[in-house]
Protein backbone atom coordinates (compact mmCIF):
# COMPACT_ATOMS: atom_id res chain seq x y z
CA UNK A 1 0.00 0.00 0.00
CA UNK A 2 2.66 2.49 1.12
CA UNK A 3 4.87 1.49 -1.79
CA UNK A 4 1.97 2.02 -4.17
CA UNK A 5 1.51 5.57 -2.93
CA UNK A 6 5.25 6.18 -3.41
CA UNK A 7 5.00 4.96 -6.97
CA UNK A 8 1.92 7.10 -7.63
CA UNK A 9 3.67 10.25 -6.35
CA UNK A 10 6.70 9.44 -8.47
CA UNK A 11 4.54 9.15 -11.57
CA UNK A 12 2.70 12.39 -10.89
CA UNK A 13 6.01 14.18 -10.50
CA UNK A 14 7.29 12.73 -13.75
CA UNK A 15 4.26 14.14 -15.53
CA UNK A 16 4.86 17.53 -13.89
CA UNK A 17 8.53 17.43 -14.88
CA UNK A 18 7.61 16.67 -18.47
CA UNK A 19 5.08 19.50 -18.65
CA UNK A 20 7.49 22.03 -17.12
CA UNK A 21 10.31 20.68 -19.31
CA UNK A 22 8.21 21.25 -22.42
CA UNK A 23 7.56 24.76 -21.11
CA UNK A 24 11.31 25.23 -21.02
CA UNK A 25 11.48 24.14 -24.68
CA UNK A 26 8.82 26.70 -25.57
CA UNK A 27 10.92 29.30 -23.77
CA UNK A 28 13.96 28.30 -25.85
CA UNK A 29 11.82 28.79 -28.93
CA UNK A 30 10.70 32.20 -27.73
CA UNK A 31 14.29 33.35 -27.19
CA UNK A 32 15.28 32.07 -30.64
CA UNK A 33 12.36 33.88 -32.23
CA UNK A 34 13.33 37.07 -30.42
CA UNK A 35 16.94 36.79 -31.63
CA UNK A 36 15.75 36.23 -35.19
CA UNK A 37 13.30 39.14 -35.08
CA UNK A 38 16.00 41.41 -33.73
CA UNK A 39 18.04 40.70 -36.89
CA UNK A 40 15.13 42.17 -38.83
CA UNK A 41 14.95 45.20 -36.59
CA UNK A 42 11.81 44.32 -34.66
CA UNK A 43 11.39 42.66 -31.32
CA UNK A 44 8.86 40.91 -29.11
CA UNK A 45 10.51 42.54 -26.12
CA UNK A 46 10.65 41.41 -22.54
CA UNK A 47 12.69 38.22 -23.06
CA UNK A 48 14.80 38.80 -19.98
CA UNK A 49 11.67 39.33 -17.92
CA UNK A 50 9.85 36.28 -19.22
CA UNK A 51 12.86 33.95 -19.02
CA UNK A 52 13.24 35.06 -15.39
CA UNK A 53 9.68 34.00 -14.58
CA UNK A 54 10.16 30.70 -16.42
CA UNK A 55 13.29 30.03 -14.36
CA UNK A 56 11.54 30.71 -11.05
CA UNK A 57 8.63 28.43 -11.99
CA UNK A 58 10.87 25.68 -13.45
CA UNK A 59 12.97 25.67 -10.30
CA UNK A 60 10.00 25.50 -7.95
CA UNK A 61 8.19 22.66 -9.75
CA UNK A 62 11.40 20.74 -10.48
CA UNK A 63 12.18 20.43 -6.76
CA UNK A 64 9.56 17.79 -5.96
CA UNK A 65 10.51 15.77 -9.03
CA UNK A 66 14.19 15.84 -8.04
CA UNK A 67 13.19 14.72 -4.56
CA UNK A 68 11.33 11.67 -5.87
CA UNK A 69 14.28 10.82 -8.15
CA UNK A 70 16.69 11.14 -5.16
CA UNK A 71 18.65 13.80 -6.99
CA UNK A 72 19.28 16.41 -4.30
CA UNK A 73 22.97 16.36 -3.40
CA UNK A 74 23.97 14.67 -0.15
CA UNK A 75 27.50 13.98 1.06
CA UNK A 76 27.72 10.25 1.66
CA UNK A 77 31.25 9.77 2.99
CA UNK A 78 30.11 8.65 6.44
CA UNK A 79 26.78 7.14 5.46
CA UNK A 80 28.31 4.26 3.54
CA UNK A 81 30.09 3.08 6.70
CA UNK A 82 26.87 2.44 8.60
CA UNK A 83 24.75 -0.68 8.79
CA UNK A 84 21.32 -0.64 7.18
CA UNK A 85 19.43 0.74 10.22
CA UNK A 86 22.04 3.47 10.62
CA UNK A 87 21.63 4.53 7.00
CA UNK A 88 17.86 4.56 7.33
CA UNK A 89 18.17 6.68 10.46
CA UNK A 90 20.29 9.22 8.56
CA UNK A 91 17.87 9.16 5.62
CA UNK A 92 14.93 9.90 7.90
CA UNK A 93 16.88 12.67 9.63
CA UNK A 94 17.66 14.20 6.25
CA UNK A 95 14.00 14.03 5.22
CA UNK A 96 12.87 15.64 8.47
CA UNK A 97 15.36 18.51 8.09
CA UNK A 98 14.32 18.95 4.48
CA UNK A 99 10.60 18.93 5.26
CA UNK A 100 11.00 21.51 8.01
CA UNK A 101 13.10 23.84 5.85
CA UNK A 102 10.89 23.60 2.78
CA UNK A 103 7.71 24.12 4.80
CA UNK A 104 9.26 27.32 6.19
CA UNK A 105 10.14 28.48 2.67
CA UNK A 106 6.65 27.74 1.33
CA UNK A 107 5.09 29.46 4.34
CA UNK A 108 7.23 32.56 3.79
CA UNK A 109 6.49 32.54 0.07
CA UNK A 110 2.81 33.31 0.62
CA UNK A 111 3.23 36.96 1.73
CA UNK A 112 5.09 37.65 -1.52
CA UNK A 113 2.12 36.52 -3.60
CA UNK A 114 -0.39 38.03 -1.18
CA UNK A 115 1.21 41.45 -1.45
CA UNK A 116 1.20 41.32 -5.24
CA UNK A 117 -2.50 40.47 -5.15
CA UNK A 118 -3.52 43.20 -2.68
CA UNK A 119 -1.33 45.85 -4.33
CA UNK A 120 -2.25 44.60 -7.79
CA UNK A 121 1.53 44.82 -8.44
CA UNK A 122 2.86 45.04 -11.95
CA UNK A 123 6.51 44.45 -12.91
CA UNK A 124 8.66 47.59 -12.98
CA UNK A 125 9.16 47.19 -16.72
CA UNK A 126 7.59 48.21 -19.99
CA UNK A 127 5.63 44.92 -20.15
CA UNK A 128 4.01 45.66 -16.77
CA UNK A 129 3.31 41.96 -16.19
CA UNK A 130 0.82 41.49 -13.35
CA UNK A 131 3.12 39.79 -10.85
CA UNK A 132 0.46 37.52 -9.36
CA UNK A 133 0.53 35.37 -12.50
CA UNK A 134 4.17 34.16 -12.36
CA UNK A 135 4.20 34.33 -8.57
CA UNK A 136 1.22 32.06 -8.07
CA UNK A 137 2.80 29.44 -10.35
CA UNK A 138 6.03 29.81 -8.38
CA UNK A 139 4.26 29.69 -5.00
CA UNK A 140 2.34 26.59 -6.09
CA UNK A 141 5.61 24.83 -6.90
CA UNK A 142 7.06 25.43 -3.45
CA UNK A 143 3.84 24.34 -1.73
CA UNK A 144 3.86 21.19 -3.84
CA UNK A 145 7.51 20.56 -2.90
CA UNK A 146 6.67 21.03 0.79
CA UNK A 147 3.76 18.59 0.48
CA UNK A 148 6.00 16.06 -1.27
CA UNK A 149 8.65 16.34 1.47
CA UNK A 150 6.09 15.78 4.22
CA UNK A 151 4.36 12.95 2.38
CA UNK A 152 7.65 11.16 1.70
CA UNK A 153 8.71 11.56 5.33
CA UNK A 154 5.44 10.15 6.65
CA UNK A 155 5.40 7.28 4.15
CA UNK A 156 9.00 6.40 5.07
CA UNK A 157 8.17 6.36 8.76
CA UNK A 158 5.28 4.05 7.94
CA UNK A 159 7.67 1.73 6.07
CA UNK A 160 10.09 1.75 9.01
CA UNK A 161 7.25 0.82 11.36
CA UNK A 162 6.42 -2.07 9.04
CA UNK A 163 10.07 -3.11 9.34
CA UNK A 164 10.86 -2.65 5.63
CA UNK A 165 14.27 -1.00 6.03
CA UNK A 166 15.51 -2.01 2.59
CA UNK A 167 12.48 -0.45 0.92
CA UNK A 168 13.02 2.83 2.79
CA UNK A 169 16.56 3.08 1.50
CA UNK A 170 15.33 2.57 -2.02
CA UNK A 171 12.88 5.44 -1.59
CA UNK A 172 14.85 8.09 0.31
CA UNK A 173 18.46 6.86 0.22
CA UNK A 174 21.18 8.18 -2.08
CA UNK A 175 20.90 7.61 -5.77
CA UNK A 176 23.78 6.07 -7.63
CA UNK A 177 24.16 8.62 -10.38
CA UNK A 178 26.98 6.72 -12.02
CA UNK A 179 25.02 3.46 -12.31
CA UNK A 180 21.99 5.33 -13.68
CA UNK A 181 24.00 7.12 -16.29
CA UNK A 182 25.67 3.92 -17.45
CA UNK A 183 22.34 2.08 -17.38
CA UNK A 184 21.01 4.65 -19.85
CA UNK A 185 23.87 3.99 -22.25
CA UNK A 186 23.73 0.21 -22.24
Amino acid sequence: MVLHIFELLRRINRVIALVVGLGLLVCVGYVLLEITLRRFGTSLGGTSEITGYVMAVTTAWGMGFALMELSHIRIEVLRTRFASWGRVFLDLLAMLAMSATVVIIAFRAWPVLARSITNNSRANTVLETPLWIPQSLWFGGWVWFACMCCAVTLLSIALVLQGKLGAVEGKIGIRNEVEDELEQLR
Binding site: E49, R115, S116, N119, R122, N124, T125, V126, E128, L131
Partner: protein, 325 residues
Protein backbone atom coordinates in the same frame (compact mmCIF):
# COMPACT_ATOMS: atom_id res chain seq x y z
CA UNK B 1 16.70 51.67 21.67
CA UNK B 2 18.50 49.83 18.89
CA UNK B 3 17.61 50.71 15.29
CA UNK B 4 18.70 48.54 12.38
CA UNK B 5 19.17 50.76 9.35
CA UNK B 6 19.68 49.87 5.69
CA UNK B 7 21.24 52.62 3.60
CA UNK B 8 21.18 53.18 -0.17
CA UNK B 9 24.09 52.36 -2.55
CA UNK B 10 27.22 52.35 -0.38
CA UNK B 11 29.49 53.47 -3.23
CA UNK B 12 27.60 56.72 -3.92
CA UNK B 13 28.17 60.10 -2.26
CA UNK B 14 24.63 60.36 -0.81
CA UNK B 15 25.40 57.41 1.48
CA UNK B 16 28.98 58.34 2.21
CA UNK B 17 28.45 62.05 2.87
CA UNK B 18 24.98 62.12 4.40
CA UNK B 19 23.27 58.84 5.27
CA UNK B 20 26.14 57.15 7.05
CA UNK B 21 27.25 60.14 9.18
CA UNK B 22 23.65 60.98 10.06
CA UNK B 23 22.62 57.52 11.26
CA UNK B 24 25.88 56.37 12.83
CA UNK B 25 27.03 59.64 14.43
CA UNK B 26 24.65 62.61 14.37
CA UNK B 27 21.45 60.87 15.50
CA UNK B 28 22.98 58.75 18.31
CA UNK B 29 24.70 61.90 19.62
CA UNK B 30 21.57 64.01 19.39
CA UNK B 31 19.72 61.39 21.43
CA UNK B 32 22.42 61.40 24.10
CA UNK B 33 23.05 57.73 23.49
CA UNK B 34 19.45 56.52 23.96
CA UNK B 35 19.29 55.62 20.27
CA UNK B 36 21.83 53.15 18.93
CA UNK B 37 22.14 52.29 15.27
CA UNK B 38 23.39 49.21 13.40
CA UNK B 39 23.86 50.26 9.78
CA UNK B 40 24.50 48.45 6.53
CA UNK B 41 23.38 49.09 2.95
CA UNK B 42 21.10 47.20 0.61
CA UNK B 43 23.90 46.38 -1.77
CA UNK B 44 26.11 45.08 1.06
CA UNK B 45 23.20 42.90 2.17
CA UNK B 46 22.75 41.65 -1.36
CA UNK B 47 19.11 42.79 -1.58
CA UNK B 48 17.36 43.26 -4.89
CA UNK B 49 16.54 46.96 -5.22
CA UNK B 50 12.86 46.20 -5.71
CA UNK B 51 12.69 44.34 -2.40
CA UNK B 52 13.99 47.04 -0.05
CA UNK B 53 10.67 48.60 1.00
CA UNK B 54 8.76 45.32 0.90
CA UNK B 55 11.15 43.88 3.48
CA UNK B 56 10.94 47.12 5.48
CA UNK B 57 7.17 46.66 5.68
CA UNK B 58 7.71 43.04 6.79
CA UNK B 59 9.85 44.33 9.64
CA UNK B 60 13.10 42.72 8.52
CA UNK B 61 14.81 46.00 9.52
CA UNK B 62 13.62 49.23 11.14
CA UNK B 63 14.72 51.92 8.70
CA UNK B 64 15.52 51.77 5.00
CA UNK B 65 16.27 54.22 2.24
CA UNK B 66 16.40 53.78 -1.49
CA UNK B 67 15.19 55.31 -4.74
CA UNK B 68 11.40 55.60 -4.80
CA UNK B 69 11.35 54.50 -8.44
CA UNK B 70 12.67 51.06 -7.47
CA UNK B 71 9.40 50.37 -5.65
CA UNK B 72 6.85 51.31 -8.30
CA UNK B 73 6.08 47.67 -9.12
CA UNK B 74 4.04 47.61 -5.92
CA UNK B 75 2.81 51.20 -6.14
CA UNK B 76 2.36 52.72 -9.62
CA UNK B 77 1.11 55.99 -8.07
CA UNK B 78 4.62 56.45 -6.63
CA UNK B 79 5.88 57.22 -10.15
CA UNK B 80 4.39 60.67 -9.61
CA UNK B 81 7.19 61.46 -7.16
CA UNK B 82 9.75 61.55 -9.94
CA UNK B 83 8.36 62.95 -13.16
CA UNK B 84 11.21 63.74 -15.56
CA UNK B 85 11.72 67.11 -17.27
CA UNK B 86 9.50 69.15 -14.97
CA UNK B 87 12.24 70.20 -12.54
CA UNK B 88 15.47 71.45 -14.09
CA UNK B 89 17.23 72.73 -10.98
CA UNK B 90 17.53 71.57 -7.41
CA UNK B 91 15.25 74.24 -5.93
CA UNK B 92 12.37 73.32 -8.22
CA UNK B 93 13.01 69.65 -7.59
CA UNK B 94 12.80 70.18 -3.86
CA UNK B 95 9.59 72.18 -4.21
CA UNK B 96 8.19 69.32 -6.30
CA UNK B 97 9.18 66.69 -3.74
CA UNK B 98 7.81 68.76 -0.87
CA UNK B 99 4.51 69.12 -2.69
CA UNK B 100 4.41 65.35 -3.25
CA UNK B 101 5.26 64.56 0.35
CA UNK B 102 1.68 64.05 1.66
CA UNK B 103 1.00 61.64 -1.24
CA UNK B 104 4.22 59.76 -0.55
CA UNK B 105 3.33 59.52 3.14
CA UNK B 106 0.01 57.89 2.28
CA UNK B 107 1.54 55.56 -0.30
CA UNK B 108 4.18 54.30 2.14
CA UNK B 109 1.61 53.88 4.90
CA UNK B 110 -0.77 51.86 2.73
CA UNK B 111 1.59 49.94 0.47
CA UNK B 112 4.70 49.37 2.55
CA UNK B 113 3.47 49.64 6.15
CA UNK B 114 5.99 52.36 6.84
CA UNK B 115 6.39 55.98 7.88
CA UNK B 116 8.30 58.41 5.65
CA UNK B 117 11.06 60.34 7.43
CA UNK B 118 12.83 62.17 4.62
CA UNK B 119 13.21 62.47 0.85
CA UNK B 120 16.63 63.42 -0.49
CA UNK B 121 17.83 63.63 -4.10
CA UNK B 122 20.36 61.78 -6.15
CA UNK B 123 21.84 64.12 -8.75
CA UNK B 124 19.65 64.45 -11.86
CA UNK B 125 19.55 61.42 -14.11
CA UNK B 126 21.14 62.27 -17.45
CA UNK B 127 21.99 60.31 -20.59
CA UNK B 128 25.32 58.59 -21.44
CA UNK B 129 25.58 57.61 -25.10
CA UNK B 130 28.09 55.49 -26.95
CA UNK B 131 26.88 57.01 -30.20
CA UNK B 132 27.11 60.30 -32.08
CA UNK B 133 24.20 62.38 -30.79
CA UNK B 134 23.73 66.11 -30.95
CA UNK B 135 20.17 66.38 -29.68
CA UNK B 136 17.04 64.48 -28.81
CA UNK B 137 16.18 63.82 -32.44
CA UNK B 138 19.29 61.68 -32.81
CA UNK B 139 18.07 59.35 -30.09
CA UNK B 140 15.21 58.16 -32.25
CA UNK B 141 15.71 54.42 -32.90
CA UNK B 142 18.52 54.05 -30.38
CA UNK B 143 18.37 51.42 -27.64
CA UNK B 144 18.38 53.20 -24.30
CA UNK B 145 18.59 51.78 -20.80
CA UNK B 146 16.23 53.76 -18.60
CA UNK B 147 15.86 53.78 -14.87
CA UNK B 148 12.29 53.53 -13.72
CA UNK B 149 9.12 52.93 -15.68
CA UNK B 150 8.14 56.52 -16.44
CA UNK B 151 11.57 57.22 -17.92
CA UNK B 152 11.32 54.10 -20.05
CA UNK B 153 7.88 55.19 -21.28
CA UNK B 154 9.16 58.68 -22.05
CA UNK B 155 12.05 57.22 -24.04
CA UNK B 156 9.66 55.08 -26.02
CA UNK B 157 7.44 58.06 -26.72
CA UNK B 158 10.53 59.91 -27.97
CA UNK B 159 11.11 57.11 -30.48
CA UNK B 160 13.93 55.36 -28.62
CA UNK B 161 13.68 51.74 -27.50
CA UNK B 162 13.60 51.30 -23.71
CA UNK B 163 15.73 48.36 -22.56
CA UNK B 164 16.07 46.86 -19.06
CA UNK B 165 19.69 46.29 -18.09
CA UNK B 166 21.05 45.93 -14.55
CA UNK B 167 23.22 48.85 -13.45
CA UNK B 168 26.31 46.62 -13.24
CA UNK B 169 25.83 45.22 -16.76
CA UNK B 170 25.53 48.63 -18.42
CA UNK B 171 29.25 49.17 -19.26
CA UNK B 172 29.47 45.79 -21.01
CA UNK B 173 26.21 46.39 -22.85
CA UNK B 174 27.35 49.84 -24.02
CA UNK B 175 30.71 48.53 -25.10
CA UNK B 176 29.39 45.70 -27.23
CA UNK B 177 26.62 47.84 -28.66
CA UNK B 178 23.74 45.92 -27.06
CA UNK B 179 22.51 49.36 -25.98
CA UNK B 180 23.41 52.79 -27.36
CA UNK B 181 22.64 54.98 -24.37
CA UNK B 182 21.95 54.64 -20.68
CA UNK B 183 20.37 56.95 -18.12
CA UNK B 184 21.84 57.42 -14.67
CA UNK B 185 23.05 60.08 -12.24
CA UNK B 186 26.12 61.90 -13.52
CA UNK B 187 28.06 61.02 -10.37
CA UNK B 188 27.10 57.34 -10.48
CA UNK B 189 28.19 57.17 -14.11
CA UNK B 190 31.51 58.84 -13.26
CA UNK B 191 32.18 56.48 -10.32
CA UNK B 192 31.16 53.38 -12.23
CA UNK B 193 33.45 54.22 -15.14
CA UNK B 194 30.73 54.67 -17.77
CA UNK B 195 32.92 57.34 -19.43
CA UNK B 196 35.19 54.50 -20.54
CA UNK B 197 32.47 53.01 -22.72
CA UNK B 198 30.48 56.05 -23.84
CA UNK B 199 31.32 59.19 -25.78
CA UNK B 200 28.47 61.69 -25.51
CA UNK B 201 26.79 63.13 -22.43
CA UNK B 202 23.30 64.59 -22.90
CA UNK B 203 22.51 66.77 -19.90
CA UNK B 204 18.75 66.76 -20.26
CA UNK B 205 17.32 65.21 -17.04
CA UNK B 206 15.32 62.55 -18.89
CA UNK B 207 15.49 60.34 -15.81
CA UNK B 208 14.26 62.88 -13.28
CA UNK B 209 16.00 63.20 -9.92
CA UNK B 210 15.61 59.70 -8.50
CA UNK B 211 14.53 60.94 -5.05
CA UNK B 212 15.65 58.63 -2.27
CA UNK B 213 12.95 57.95 0.32
CA UNK B 214 13.95 57.25 3.93
CA UNK B 215 11.24 55.39 5.84
CA UNK B 216 10.73 53.53 9.10
CA UNK B 217 8.66 50.40 9.64
CA UNK B 218 5.24 51.62 10.83
CA UNK B 219 4.98 49.26 13.80
CA UNK B 220 8.45 50.28 14.93
CA UNK B 221 7.62 53.97 14.50
CA UNK B 222 4.43 53.60 16.56
CA UNK B 223 6.34 51.79 19.29
CA UNK B 224 8.51 54.89 19.87
CA UNK B 225 7.33 57.53 22.34
CA UNK B 226 6.30 60.95 21.02
CA UNK B 227 9.49 62.56 22.26
CA UNK B 228 11.73 60.14 20.35
CA UNK B 229 9.59 60.48 17.23
CA UNK B 230 9.92 64.24 17.44
CA UNK B 231 13.68 63.99 17.96
CA UNK B 232 14.20 61.73 14.96
CA UNK B 233 11.98 63.80 12.68
CA UNK B 234 13.52 67.19 13.53
CA UNK B 235 17.12 65.92 13.40
CA UNK B 236 16.70 64.13 10.10
CA UNK B 237 15.09 67.14 8.44
CA UNK B 238 17.72 69.56 9.70
CA UNK B 239 20.85 67.41 9.58
CA UNK B 240 20.20 65.11 6.63
CA UNK B 241 17.48 66.24 4.25
CA UNK B 242 18.32 69.95 4.05
CA UNK B 243 22.12 69.56 3.63
CA UNK B 244 21.63 66.81 1.03
CA UNK B 245 19.45 69.12 -1.08
CA UNK B 246 21.87 72.00 -0.55
CA UNK B 247 24.71 70.22 -2.39
CA UNK B 248 22.55 68.72 -5.15
CA UNK B 249 22.91 71.60 -7.61
CA UNK B 250 26.68 71.91 -7.16
CA UNK B 251 27.05 68.15 -7.44
CA UNK B 252 25.59 68.16 -10.95
CA UNK B 253 27.92 70.92 -12.10
CA UNK B 254 30.94 69.13 -10.63
CA UNK B 255 29.95 65.72 -12.00
CA UNK B 256 29.52 67.09 -15.50
CA UNK B 257 32.90 68.81 -15.15
CA UNK B 258 34.50 65.50 -14.18
CA UNK B 259 32.92 63.69 -17.11
CA UNK B 260 33.52 66.26 -19.82
CA UNK B 261 36.51 68.22 -18.52
CA UNK B 262 34.68 71.54 -19.11
CA UNK B 263 35.77 72.75 -15.65
CA UNK B 264 37.84 71.70 -12.63
CA UNK B 265 36.97 68.19 -11.36
CA UNK B 266 37.07 68.10 -7.54
CA UNK B 267 36.95 64.27 -7.20
CA UNK B 268 39.72 62.98 -9.44
CA UNK B 269 40.79 62.92 -13.08
CA UNK B 270 38.53 64.77 -15.50
CA UNK B 271 37.37 62.77 -18.55
CA UNK B 272 36.68 63.96 -22.06
CA UNK B 273 33.13 63.04 -22.99
CA UNK B 274 31.41 65.30 -25.49
CA UNK B 275 28.91 67.56 -23.73
CA UNK B 276 25.57 67.74 -25.54
CA UNK B 277 23.34 70.49 -24.21
CA UNK B 278 19.79 70.05 -25.32
CA UNK B 279 18.34 72.95 -27.27
CA UNK B 280 15.24 74.88 -26.28
CA UNK B 281 13.37 73.14 -29.11
CA UNK B 282 14.46 69.70 -27.87
CA UNK B 283 13.28 70.50 -24.43
CA UNK B 284 9.90 71.78 -25.57
CA UNK B 285 9.38 68.73 -27.76
CA UNK B 286 10.23 66.33 -24.97
CA UNK B 287 8.04 68.14 -22.50
CA UNK B 288 5.17 68.18 -24.95
CA UNK B 289 5.39 64.40 -25.32
CA UNK B 290 5.56 64.07 -21.56
CA UNK B 291 2.36 66.02 -21.08
CA UNK B 292 0.37 64.61 -23.97
CA UNK B 293 1.42 60.95 -23.78
CA UNK B 294 3.45 59.86 -20.79
CA UNK B 295 1.53 61.51 -17.97
CA UNK B 296 -1.97 60.51 -19.20
CA UNK B 297 -0.63 56.97 -19.54
CA UNK B 298 0.52 57.14 -15.93
CA UNK B 299 -2.86 58.50 -14.84
CA UNK B 300 -4.44 55.40 -16.36
CA UNK B 301 -2.00 53.16 -14.46
CA UNK B 302 -2.30 54.88 -11.11
CA UNK B 303 -5.97 55.86 -11.28
CA UNK B 304 -7.65 59.25 -11.66
CA UNK B 305 -7.77 59.91 -7.93
CA UNK B 306 -4.00 59.90 -7.69
CA UNK B 307 -3.63 61.93 -10.87
CA UNK B 308 -6.05 64.52 -9.50
CA UNK B 309 -4.08 64.68 -6.26
CA UNK B 310 -0.91 65.10 -8.28
CA UNK B 311 -2.45 67.94 -10.32
CA UNK B 312 -3.47 69.73 -7.15
CA UNK B 313 -0.06 69.41 -5.47
CA UNK B 314 2.99 68.73 -7.66
CA UNK B 315 1.32 69.88 -10.85
CA UNK B 316 0.42 73.22 -9.31
CA UNK B 317 4.04 73.77 -8.25
CA UNK B 318 5.65 72.94 -11.61
CA UNK B 319 2.86 74.25 -13.81
CA UNK B 320 1.81 70.99 -15.44
CA UNK B 321 -1.65 69.47 -15.55
CA UNK B 322 -2.38 65.86 -16.40
CA UNK B 323 -5.45 65.47 -18.59
CA UNK B 324 -7.97 63.15 -16.98
CA UNK B 325 -10.49 61.20 -19.01
Amino acid sequence: EMLSVVGSWSNLPLYQQFESPFWTEILPEASNGTLEVAMTTHNEMGLGVGDVFNLLGDGVYDVAMTVGDYAVADAPELEGLDVPLVALDADTARAMVDAARPMVNDIFRDRFNSHVLAIAPYPPQIVFCNAEVSGLDDMRGLKVRGSGRMTAKLLEALGAEGVNVDFGEVPGALQRGAIDCAVTGAGSGYNAGWWEVSTHLVTLPLGGWDPVVTAMNMDRWNSLDAETQELIQTTITAEFETPAWAVAQDALVNDVACLTGNAECPYGDARDMVLVEASEADFDAARNILITEVLPDWAARAGNDWAQRWNDSVGAVVGVTVDLD
